[in-house]
């Protein structure tokens, strides 16, 4: 365990972000790190609980948090890395972008500030990279079985690596120009530098995983072919169909879906787009519809592109503000008001705003009509929105980014060719073995459970790998 009574001795400490002025000038990571000595103090706060909720309730991956906390406290970074690496395929990514439900469910969060688990995680893996401990794990035996993984988001990558380490020959098919899926193009550079992904992918490749990018399965490659040439097919396609905002004018130019916008921004950064193709927010008044993380990413990106003004409207009520260090809803992830680093970079946020209409001169967006609403419940208990009379207002805008979530798997030829059953939510149906309705075809991640956290996708990918392995034996 960490230090006995360490949680009473040391205060929680977090590193925070780089200075706003400075960070707005670039796309480099906004987070900072605590020095390693201070991290040891933070690890000392871990109580090594008899029932560690961080590990068993908060973390989907069941990361062995108390074990690596203890190792860090003892200065045994190599052991910390060993334990961390057991449950996570790319902790350097979750250590940067995971919302850290582990910390919300840390036992200390009952009445104190949690252990800074996420920072410790990141420190361990970065230290491991710096010490060259992160080396490919070549399987000791080849199974001779071939697996195709379609889609290279977190679920696909986790599945691919696990399957490869079990000795199978794995090929990952990605329709984009580089692997990573949502990690690469959905998450802006300033939150997750793409070099971090590339560093990990290099390991993947050294382990023998093959990547085929710019390949759209179902079109460039037939589903039938894929199936014939592999012993199992894994579909980790993500859940890419965005939820629309169905108001008049939403088809106008200058109204984009968040993911498209973010993808473009990243591609632009890496010179993969011509300037003509690039939609920039420079000098524009930008409205982000949707108050979630993706929305925040849009805010941060727009600001970096030099937007004149950024608004973010959310239809749901503003959660309660919570000024205390402990979690009022322990061990659940609390529904409290949060702001991401992007919000501090300049943004006007409003809640309970409904978009009534978007319009512009010609096809380009110029203006939106909005009103305030209040939420009630209908007799059956379902939430009901009511416009508040007299609150209607209009806003001049040059660009609208819709970040209202995702609804289902993108319909594609692939799905059709495999004859996959979808469920009522529009995602792929599987059984308890991650097996789809088609023999030998498995699925996991957002494509199965709808858009969710990266850790969840990873966990599913890992779970799927075990089942596919069983299937192949």
């Amino acid at each position: 365990m960490g230090e006995l009574r360490g949680f009473l001795k040391y205060q929680q400490k977090v590193s925070g972000y780089r200075d706003v002025k400075e960070r707005l000038k670039d796309y480099r990571e906004v987070i900072q790190r605590l020095p390693r000595e201070e991290l040891i103090e933070q690890a000392a706060r871990c109580m090594d609980c008899g029932t560690p909720f961080c590990h068993s309730f908060g973390c989907t991956l069941a990361n062995l948090i108390p074990e690596w906390n203890d190792a860090v406290y003892r200065g045994l970074w190599d052991e910390a890395y060993d334990r961390l690496e057991l449950t996570s395929n790319f902790p350097e990514i979750t250590g940067r972008i995971c919302p850290a439900p582990c910390e919300s469910s840390c036992t200390l969060s009952i009445n104190d500030a949690p252990v800074s688990i996420k920072e410790i995680e990141l420190a361990i893996i970065e230290h491991a990279f710096s010490q060259d401990w992160v080396i490919p794990q070549i399987p000791r035996q080849e199974s001779g079985k071939k697996v195709a993984v379609v889609g290279s988001g977190p679920a696909g990558l986790a599945a691919a690596q696990q399957l490869r380490r079990m000795g199978h020959q794995v090929t990952v098919y990605e329709k984009d120009s580089a692997p990573g899926g949502i990690l690469r193009f959905g998450i802006p550079e300033f939150k997750l530098e793409k070099a971090v992904i590339d560093r990990r992918l290099e390991i993947f490749q050294q382990e023998g995983i093959e990547f085929e990018t710019n390949v759209v399965v179902g079109e460039d490659l037939s589903a039938r072919y894929l199936k014939r040439t592999h012993d199992a097919v894994v579909l980790t396609l993500g859940c890419r169909v965005p939820r629309p905002v169905p108001v008049p004018g939403s088809q106008s130019d200058g109204v984009y879906f968040a993911l498209d916008y973010l993808t473009q921004a990243t591609k632009n950064l890496y010179g993969e787009l011509s300037p003509q193709e690039f939609i920039s927010a420079k000098d524009k008044t930008v409205l982000v519809l949707g108050g979630g993380d993706t929305g925040a990413d849009c805010v941060g990106t727009a600001n970096r592109q030099g937007a004149k003004k950024v608004y973010q409207f959310e239809i749901m009520p503003k959660p309660d503000e919570w000024g205390k260090s402990w979690n009022p809803e322990w061990p659940y992830y609390p529904k409290i008001y949060r702001s991401s680093s992007s919000h501090h970079e300049g943004c006007e946020r409003r809640w309970q705003i409904k978009t009534k209409q978007l319009y512009g001169r010609g096809v380009s967006i110029e203006k939106g009509i909005f009103c305030e609403i209040q939420w009630t419940k209908d007799p059956s208990g379902r939430p009901l929105q009511q416009e508040i009379p007299g609150t209607e207002f209009s806003l001049d805008i040059d660009m609208v980014l819709i970040a209202a979530g995702f609804v289902q798997v993108e319909p594609s030829k692939l799905l059709k060719d495999f004859g996959l059953q979808l469920n009522e939510r529009g995602t792929i149906s599987i059984d308890e073995n991650f097996h789809t309705s088609t023999e030998g075809v498995f699925a996991a991640g957002d494509a199965v459970s709808g858009a969710s956290l990266v850790v969840k996708a990873m966990n599913q990918g890992r779970g799927l790998a075990d089942k596919v392995n069983e299937y192949l034996h």
């Binding site: 109580m47 008899g50 029932t51 909720f53 309730f57 069941a62 108390p66 003892r74």
Partner: protein, 1532 residues
């Protein structure tokens, strides 16, 4: 005959008793000896018990010299001269045909053996004296007479012995068991009269003994208190040579050894006839009977009477004892010949000429004697059993631990311990023999060299042996760092081994047994000097001879061998000592079955090596490879042990196990428990090097030190395991098999662990093979990196994907959600999660199903408010819990009309008054635990239930301690101790060493609060049912069966996991045994241990529980999140901590707990409705409503069989009555309906209580505080005098009581046990005469004076006047004792001041306050564990420090005037009250004597006082001794 129905097994019956003897030293045969002995028996009646029919005694008997004169007068035929004929007593079958054949058998065998059968005499009996049950099994009692020409003396005795053995064998061949054909005695010297009655029925039943011509010079008597009431005439005592009050804890070991030795015994005394006397022991008899058989063999084989006794019950002879070198050598030599028969014992023995008595090394049974001028010796469990005029007394004494005492009627003198043992131990040159022959390897147990670490393969091997990270970090590391076992807290809710989906080590299927009630656990720390890990390893020789070669064995100081040790044993050449290795690896094969083959191979190889003359066989699992798999070491050991015992070769060689498997204490304990002479845990030693390299072992601790620490930790752990079983020496523990298996099938058990009970079947050899291979393979899988790593373990710390636990994180969250929001739906989610056996099958109850019942509407079911009254919060002390948590629980339970439990930490008397809002924070159940913290008269009267805690589920058989830093001001006040001073709870209650002691405490408590019910808390283990029956017979109102999985504030981890069984089994066994004994109707049954949901509770009710206790779940309701760190004082939710900062974080509310209880009751009602029960009572014991869930397909659970557990009571009863009726005639055709739940509780019997009269006569004092002076005559059956009187006072005046001497009672005679128990302030007892054990128990402010009767001629200060365990748990008051007291004087005293003129062993043990002045000698181990108070001892020969346990105290000179004044003041008072001649002499030489006084000062206490003194401005607090002042200091 093996009686075995349901879970009840006769093997686990226990008994205890009153024993004694009377003898004329000059050998004159008189009838008065008989009369007096029977009177003594009658006066000991309260030490016996009666059964369910209220009349059948557990047995009583007398052994006397053959009443030659009487017999001649009553026989129709002539007898040869006295001493030239043998007389036998026979219990013969009542069935006519069998009777005829058995008499014929006797006569024919006599003829065959060359004897002359002289004739029969039908012994007259009076059937009407018997109870129903005794009558049903009454045998035909006959005497018979034999002669062998001119043979006489020892030769005739031996011939008669052989004759009896031949008759027994013939009877056995004819199919008669000992209930059909039994020979109580056959001798030319002695005769036994005994039977199933209580002592008062004796003379009625046997008219013979009333005849004036019925004479003897000696009489040995015995009165039995048994836990069972199944008639067994043959097992009542005395036996042929002994009567035994006690238990042989190591019987299994002793029997196995005897069986092995039979093959190599020979003796010139027997010659060819030796074959006729085997088998020596009949395993179907009792421990005492078996002891008798072996004792008889030794004596007939030529050993002297005391010699044989010294072999079987050796006193402790460790280096801390001051005994002669020759005697020590004698005992060490004998240790190579035979292991001790270990257990509490007072044994009286005789050969008809000499009669003697001895106590076990711990002195756990009382023995008081008187020698009279007129030449009689009376020895009995109590003083005062026979009237002896004071002027006739020459000496009053007691048997001290390990001491012996013999009356020789031939030499006409009394021979004391020293004289006896000096002559025995110098009969042969034992010391020289030992020096020449004993093998002690040079370098053995030297500092170990660091072992080589093979880092490459370490993880592979660790995984192959099932190591987890927890093994490395949580178990091995702390052992290496601190030299002791790691401590943990809370309960064990991990999945049972047999339900776990992960491969389990075989050890995990074995549960440690432990001593409770019928024999005490030993305090391995404070009383370590009686314990020993020493053993001899090698070849044992002919038991009936003594030669120098007998001790040609290897002496091991302890059984843990380093690699160096083993290397020495393998490679050093020693003549007559050869060690060889047998590999216990087996090959992998596809079809399986290799394990069994390998076991057979190992057994054969071991036997071959032994046959070839090998004295030491090493079973080794070194050099595993991918397809060389280790046999589980315990299995290999069990197989070899069993094989060798069967071949009669076990005693020919030592077996050492060299294994990578063993790492925690339990592993070593089981290996040794199943016969290993030594264990080498080589992989641990290698792991230590790894841990050092990784920094878990710090730089400044060398590997050598770490290894030593680790070994020390194992040694301490072994001592602990042994001590909790009540075993003192490794020699007798080894192979004693004191375990219960859980989840192993009988085929496996029969083959490899035959003496170990396993009651629900389970897996067999094929599954073990599968598990072993699976585990092994995980070490040799390289296909994936994550498999290279040790698993987390998840046993002590929850881990997803590791070991399953019943309390999952989700369950905790849902429960807290439910109780905080008052949400029943969340509660249902909680209970669904806990009950979800699909995903979380952890416990046996998970495998039960309810049978379909005729459901009723839930509205018709008894309301929740009524059901809740059956609920209790489990005992958790204030001290382990914060004040906030403790009172929150009490308030919640009180509001609900349920019960809360004080735990063992006393209770703040401020909680006895009602709070402003009408709440009360008083705990209705007050616990009486071994530490007796704060157990005052006031505490006892403020209770509705008094609960005697015999054991705690988390650590049965162990005590505990509260570290000084947790003892803050409030806790110190409540526990009557000093802030900052450590408090120790001893493993045993020092007033409960046997079942009749428990009955005595129940009796005391009923006097101390006649309105409260008394309950006894037991922990589930095999045999708990029979103990519960004993508890019922002790007249407790309720028995609590606690599960071994229960929680704790602190306990060694191995105890948490491995000691104690589960309530499903313990409860079912209790129910079955109580019903079977027709005792269930008189006692209520409560159950606790990880009870969580309505389903759990209904299952418990159906199995027989009426009431339910909740511990952990209670805490979770008020905020606990199962940190499992209660022992660290760091509870982050303010529950299990005394830290003010953390206590502020407590957020629990009474409403939360109330919600839980209400929800639980609601869920119970729903289940009741579905099963069709309207009233809760209807459900109790309805085991027929349960069955086993056959749908479980779990590969291990499949083999479980609950049929024993689920045996309906009705079926059980009919089976019993069938049995008895087949044995007797059709008399039992009328079968009474036997209750299966409590119908009516037994009213306590206060008829012998003096207090009724005292209360009446003291009315004016009680009501109006007017002084009164009363007088009374007392006898030893007047017990607990003063307790009820005091309750009247405490009820009215609380702790303050009455003004000093307000009620003075002058008494004469021998007072019974617990004289002045809990005596309140203002009551003074002045006793002229003597007192028995437990004098001043729990003294609460009263004053006790005892002095010898007027006219006594003996020197008072040289003679014993009170018994053992005086002033136990006293919290205040004074005692003046004009004479010496027995063992354990003022143990756990926390406030009383006493003056005494001498004390026995272990004086002032665990004392925490008060003052004791000893004006004379003390026994050994004085002040062990003493953390407070002071003692002054007159140390005339300045050797006191050799008898004092100096671990926690310093011995100071009397230099301060304050000390001198204090001494003078109290000695003056002593003179004033008792007229002590000795004290007067002292005062006259005062100035010369002062320098000889020493002051015993506990270190902790001194610093606490200094601290308090400096805080209180140096007031006169340093004058430590006055208890009042100490308390003030404590409160300041």
């Amino acid at each position: 005959m093996k009686e075995h129905t349901g879970l009840y097994d006769r093997t686990f019956e226990h008994d205890a008793c009153g024993v004694g003897f009377i003898a004329n030293i000059n050998g004159d045969k008189t009838h008065s000896i008989i009369e007096n002995s029977i009177r003594a028996l009658i006066n000991l009646e309260h030490r016996g018990a009666v059964g369910g029919d209220m009349k059948t005694g557990d047995g009583a008997g007398i052994l006397l010299q053959i009443p030659d004169e009487f017999l001649r007068a009553n026989l129709e035929f002539e007898l040869p001269a006295a001493g030239r004929y043998g007389a036998g007593v026979f219990f013969l079958p009542s069935d006519e045909k069998l009777f005829t054949s058995s008499t014929a058998l006797v006569e024919e065998t006599t003829a065959a053996e060359g004897g002359l059968f002289l004739g029969w005499r039908k012994v007259p009996i009076n059937r009407s004296a018997l109870g129903e049950t005794a009558l049903q099994s009454l045998p035909v009692i006959q005497q018979a007479f034999f002669s062998f020409e001119e043979l006489q003396g020892e030769v005739l005795e031996r011939k008669l012995y052989i004759l009896r053995k031949c008759m027994e064998s013939a009877a056995a061949r004819a199919g008669m068991d000992i209930n059909q054909f039994y020979i109580p005695s056959l001798s030319a010297r002695t005769m036994v009269y005994k039977g199933m009655f209580v002592s008062t029925q004796f003379t009625d039943f046997y008219p013979d003994v009333r005849d004036k011509s019925f004479k003897s010079a000696i009489a040995l008597v015995h009165q039995r208190y048994s836990t069972n009431t199944f008639p067994s005439w043959s097992l009542s005592q005395p036996f042929r040579h002994i009567a035994h009050n006690g238990e042989i804890n190591t019987l299994r070991r002793n029997m196995n050894n005897m069986r092995a030795r039979e093959s190599s015994i020979s003796s010139p005394y027997f010659g060819e006839e030796i074959s006729k006397i085997t088998p020596i022991v009949n395993p179907d008899t009792s421990d005492s009977a078996i002891f008798d058989s072996v004792y008889e063999l030794l004596v007939q084989g030529g050993r002297d009477l005391p010699h044989a006794m010294m072999m079987m019950v050796p006193e402790a002879f460790g280096t801390r004892y001051h005994i002669s070198e020759d005697k020590r050598a004698f005992y060490e030599y004998q240790a190579a010949v035979m292991e001790p028969w270990d257990g509490p014992a007072a044994i009286v023995f005789t050969d008809g000429i000499r009669i003697g008595a001895t106590l076990d090394r711990n002195g756990l049974r009382p023995g008081r004697y008187v020698i009279t001028k007129s030449g009689q010796v009376v020895l009995a469990s109590e003083a005062g059993v026979v009237d002896i005029p004071p002027e006739d007394v020459v000496e009053k004494g007691r048997l001290a631990p390990g001491r012996m005492f013999v009356v020789d009627t031939e030499k006409q003198r009394v021979i004391k311990d020293n004289a006896l043992k000096a002559s025995v131990s110098r009969r042969r040159p034992y010391r020289r023999w030992l020096e020449k022959n004993r093998i002690e390897l040079k370098g053995l147990f030297g500092l170990p060299h660091p072992v080589d670490l093979d880092k490459e393969t370490l993880s592979t091997r660790q995984r192959a042996f099932g190591y987890s990270i927890e093994d490395m970090i949580t178990i091995i590391t702390p052992m290496a760092l601190k030299g002791q076992e790691p401590i943990g807290s809370m309960g064990n809710d991990a999945a049972l081994a047999v339900l776990s989906e992960r491969p389990q080590l075989l050890y995990d299927y074995f549960k440690q047994m432990f001593a409770q009630v019928t024999n005490p656990p030993i305090d391995a720390y404070r009383e370590s000097l009686v314990m020993s890990l020493m053993s001899f390893v090698g070849r044992e020789r002919n038991l009936l001879e003594e030669t120098p070669e007998h001790c040609r064995q290897l002496k091991l100081a302890h059984p843990i061998l380093t690699n160096d040790d083993l290397h020495h044993l393998r490679n050093t050449y020693i003549p007559d000592f050869k060690g060889e290795t047998v590999s216990i690896l087996f090959p992998r094969s596809e079809e399986g079955g290799e394990l069994q083959k390998a076991l057979e191979r190992v057994c054969t190889e071991v036997e071959q090596k032994i046959d070839a003359g090998c004295e030491l066989v090493i079973l080794s699992d070194r050099n595993i490879e991918a397809d060389k798999i280790p046999i589980p070491a315990l299995l290999a050991m069990g197989a070899v042990q069993q094989h060798l015992v069967q071949r009669g070769k076990r005693h020919l060689s030592g077996i050492v196990v060299e294994t990578g498997e063993a790492r925690e204490v339990h592993h070593f304990a089981t290996l040794v428990g199943y016969g290993a002479s030594g264990v080498n845990p080589y992989l641990v030693f290698e792991s230590l090097v790894d841990l050092k390299q990784r920094g878990y072992i710090p730089q400044d601790l060398t590997i050598e030190e770490a290894t030593e620490n680790y070994i020390n930790a194992v040694k301490k752990g072994l001592l602990k395991v042994m001590s909790k079983m009540g075993i003192s020496t490794l020699r007798s523990y080894r192979g004693s098999q004191m375990y219960e298996a859980l989840g192993l099938n009988s085929e496996l058990m029969q083959s490899y662990f035959p003496a170990t009970p396993s009651r629900i079947e389970g897996i067999g050899l094929p599954t073990i093979e599968q598990e072993t291979i699976q585990r092994h393979s995980s070490g040799f899988r390289f296909d994936e990196k994550r498999l290279d790593h040790l698993d987390s373990g998840g046993i002590y710390r929850y881990r997803e994907n590791s070991t399953k636990h019943r309390f999952t994180p989700l369950a905790i969250v849902k429960l807290q959600e439910a109780v905080r929001n008052g949400s029943y739906s969340a509660f249902k989610e909680y209970s669904a999660e806990i009950n979800d056996i699909e995903h979380n099958l952890c416990s046996l109850r998970g495998l039960f199903n309810f049978k379909q019942g005729q459901s009723v509407p839930v509205e018709e079911v008894e309301p929740a408010e009524e059901i809740i009254k059956r609920f209790a919060s489990a005992a958790m002390s204030f001290g382990s819990l914060s004040q906030e948590a403790h009172t929150t629980i009490a308030i919640a339970m009180n509001r609900l009309g349920a019960m809360s439990n004080s735990g063992e930490g006393g209770e703040d008397n401020q909680r006895y008054s009602t709070l402003e809002n009408g709440d009360t924070a008083l705990s209705k159940v007050k616990q009486i635990a071994s530490g007796r913290f704060g157990v005052t008269g006031e505490y006892l009267v403020n209770a509705e239930e008094l609960q005697i805690k015999m054991a705690q589920g988390a650590k049965p058989g162990e005590g505990g301690q509260l570290p000084g830093y947790k003892v803050n001001d409030v806790i110190a006040r409540v526990r009557h101790s000093t802030p900052g001073v450590m408090l120790i709870s001893p493993p045993p209650h020092h007033d409960i060493y046997s079942i009749e002691d428990l009955a005595q405490l129940i009796y005391d408590l009923k006097h101390a609060n006649p309105k409260a019910r008394v309950s006894v808390k037991l922990v589930s283990e095999v045999g708990v049912g029979t103990i519960a029956a004993g508890v019922a017979k002790g007249k407790a109102d309720m028995v609590l069966i606690s599960s071994g999985e229960g929680g704790t504030g602190a306990s060694p981890l191995s105890s948490l996991r491995h000691a104690g069984s589960y309530w499903e089994l313990g409860l079912a066994e209790t129910q079955q045994t109580l019903v079977k004994n027709n005792l269930r109707g008189n006692i209520r049954v409560q159950v606790d241990g990880q009870l969580r949901t309505g389903r759990d509770l209904v299952i418990a009710a159906l199995l027989g529980a009426e009431e339910f206790g909740f511990g952990t779940v209670t805490l979770v309701s008020i905020g606990c999140v199962l940190m499992r760190q209660c022992h660290l004082n760091s509870c982050p939710v303010g529950i299990a901590t005394q830290d003010p900062e953390l206590r502020d974080r407590f957020k629990g509310k009474p409403e939360h707990l109330m919600n839980f209880m209400l929800f639980l009751a609601r869920e119970v009602r729903e289940i009741m409705a579905s099963l069709g029960f309207r009233r809760f009572d209807e459900m109790v014991g309805r085991v027929d409503m349960l069955n086993m869930n056959k749908a479980i397909t779990h590969y291990k659970a499949k083999g479980l069989d609950f049929s024993n557990l689920l045996q309906p009571s009705s079926q059980l009863m009919s089976r019993i009555s069938n049995q008895t009726s087949s044995q007797t005639s059709s008399r039992a055709s009328h079968k009474p309906a036997v209750p299966i739940r409590c119908m009516e509780q037994i009213k306590p019997d206060f008829s012998a209580s003096l207090d009724w009269r005292l209360i009446e006569e003291a009315q004016s004092a009680i009501e109006d505080r007017q002084p009164v002076l009363l007088k009374a005559e007392v006898r030893n059956y007047n017990r607990a005098i003063g307790a009820m009187l005091s309750s009247e006072i405490s009820r009215r005046y609380g702790e303050a009581g009455l003004p000093e001497d307000c009620i003075t009672v002058e008494m004469r005679g021998s007072a019974g046990q617990s004289f002045g128990a809990f005596l309140a302030h203002g009551v003074s007892f002045r006793l002229e005469g003597e007192a028995n054990d437990y004098f001043g128990k729990g003294l609460s402010g009263g004053k006790l004076v005892v002095r010898p009767p007027e006219g006594s001629k003996f020197l008072a200060h040289k003679n014993i006047i009170t018994g053992n365990v005086n002033l136990f748990g006293a919290t205040g008051g004074e005692a003046y004792i004009n004479g010496t007291a027995g063992e354990r004087f003022a143990v756990r005293n926390s406030g009383a001041t006493a003056v005494v003129e001498g004390v026995g062993d272990h004086g002032c043990e665990y004392m925490t306050g008060g003052a004791v002045i000893v004006l004379g000698q003390t026994g050994i181990n004085f002040a062990a564990g003493m953390s407070g108070g002071v003692a002054y001892v007159l140390d005339e020969n300045q050797l006191f420090d050799t008898r004092c346990n100096l671990e926690m105290v310093d011995i100071e000179q009397i230099t301060e005037k304050r000390d001198e004044d204090f001494l003078k003041r109290y000695i003056q008072r002593h003179i004033e009250y008792t007229g002590s001649r000795h004290a007067q002499d002292l005062m006259q030489m005062w100035d010369e004597l002062v320098p000889l006084f020493v002051k015993v000062m506990p270190l902790d206490y001194r610093s606490a006082l200094l601290k308090a003194a400096s805080e209180a401005d140096g007031e006169s607090i340093a004058s430590t001794h006055n208890s009042e002042q100490i308390k003030t200091a404590g409160r300041s």
